[in-house]
Symmetry: C2
Subunit: 362 residues, 2 copies
Amino acid sequence: MSAPARRRVEVPLGERSYTIEIGLGTLDELGAAVKQVVEPTRALLVTTPPVGRRYGARALASLRGAGLRARRFDVPDGERSKSLAQAGRLYDALLAGGADRGSVVVALGGGVVGDLAGFVAATLLRGVPVVQVPTSLLAMVDSSVGGKTGVNVARGKNLVGAFHQPRLVWIDAATLRTLPPRQLRAGLAEVVKHAAIADAGLFEELEAQGERLLGGELERWLPILERNCAIKARVVALDERETGLRMTLNFGHTLGHAVESLARYRGVLHGEAVAIGMAFAARRSEALGLAPAGTAERLVGLLARLGLPTALPRHPRRAYLAALSVDKKKRDTRIRFVALRGIGRADTVPLLPTEILPPEVR
Amino acid sequence: MSAPARRRVEVPLGERSYTIEIGLGTLDELGAAVKQVVEPTRALLVTTPPVGRRYGARALASLRGAGLRARRFDVPDGERSKSLAQAGRLYDALLAGGADRGSVVVALGGGVVGDLAGFVAATLLRGVPVVQVPTSLLAMVDSSVGGKTGVNVARGKNLVGAFHQPRLVWIDAATLRTLPPRQLRAGLAEVVKHAAIADAGLFEELEAQGERLLGGELERWLPILERNCAIKARVVALDERETGLRMTLNFGHTLGHAVESLARYRGVLHGEAVAIGMAFAARRSEALGLAPAGTAERLVGLLARLGLPTALPRHPRRAYLAALSVDKKKRDTRIRFVALRGIGRADTVPLLPTEILPPEVR
């Protein structure tokens, strides 16, 4: 059997440009790629215990095999690791482990590891390079690309962070084999998001494949990963600092963040919260006359077929309004709400929290 | 009496360019300048209780007079405020006070406030603009210019931070009137540093004026501030991210940081530690044959006349070596030690900690 074709997506950002390398079974080649692209003095591999148990030894062996000094640093699994306190512990551990300006941070794991390790890399010694090695679907198609890093504070998600583009994104789709089905579904929420805001053709393909996406050969993921990374790369290249177009990538995230915050980041995965937020946003877009009738139904139908939640959890309306009012996309009092304009098209509309969530909706 | 001439120094950094405005009694014009340069939705004034008592009300009145919503946020005085924990409290306070992406952080105070507020601005909502309003001599001639921000961690000073250029540096030399004499002397250490590494003419002027610099009319500071800001601006413009030339601004800082760290940031001011570090570095430069004989004597003589310490505090040599080995300028095992090549000239030499501090020296 011949090896499946490698896929490569460029993220053109001038001197901050980088490549997303997509393959199957390519984890063992990580070290050579890191060495070639970054030329670091040492590699600081940041991961979680569950991911580290599965892939840590291979990643370390690959880095060392390329002649790099490498050590592994574990952070606890889960969204609650995206905290200043955890960042503080990681700074200390990395410095104790010999971190210097020539070091590279290698983030091996899902979105939490990528966001936390990316933020720590952005601020350690005023910035060291980071390589993202996403092992969850969500991280592969979304969070590992684009340079957004951050931690959560009491008032909300990602309210502290930095734009810090990776020097390389290394995707081995074979790591999806060990991803729990619920995590895989949650990652599909961001795939649906990309399709809904930017690629009607991809949306139709997702509708055609439906729940069959969740089983089958891993090789089938390669074109999906490539297409999603290309959408993300294009948007980021046009608007790196999120002053306009990039905001559309937050489709479903305004309510999604509120859902996560009200659940105290427990019991609901980010992708699930985004699915709920997208369903809500699509319905609101229709109700506000921004999207043609039937748009929300199509989106909700696809999400439901993929096993994703679409109903807003029951919390008091005032709790939602309070959670919305600290959304970091807020500018003054109105929020840049991402509205769907139809399948494959989105833009932002400045709305007050009370307009996003009018009394009759909740 | 006519108002003294304003001085203006440009920091040319492409799209991150900004102006250093130097005047006497100009604090009341801060608001109009912030409004014109940044056009923020609101101003978040960060200061300390002692500085805030003296200048907080005028700064707030000026900001509000320009039509900006403005609030004051106090952080405790002293180097120990440059911590992740303090940054965490400041994020929460600023967000509770309505911080959004259109807000500007205004740092009113000395180096601690500038570094901490600058770091918080760099990372709040992935970056909001900052205006530096330095009220100490050290901050005016050094730390407010160049975009270095950061906090200290257990392993050393400024090991966590970001490059975040201010949008404006607003220097009202009249605030030096209330600066304690010891702080004024400590600030002169950085003035002497600039002269020693880059401006032999300024060094001679400092020798000619000597201790008389510390008394007299505030107007006399204006040309000194201008000349120092110009030196700093030129170096930063040529090497913003400190990959080469900018490292020479760390003259005296390698040992200086060790002195501060071993004192646990208590009892010794940053400028005093830098004076000690410069005297040490000049002597080592001579001993290593890098600087002509007599260089160290001239530098030490000037520092002593200005009332600055020049002798290394007594700590075990191994304590100094340990403090040196986590210096963030370390790359692998050698440290980029800033050597004086004569008065007005410096460069960096890679040295092992044991070469910087050989047994016969301590």
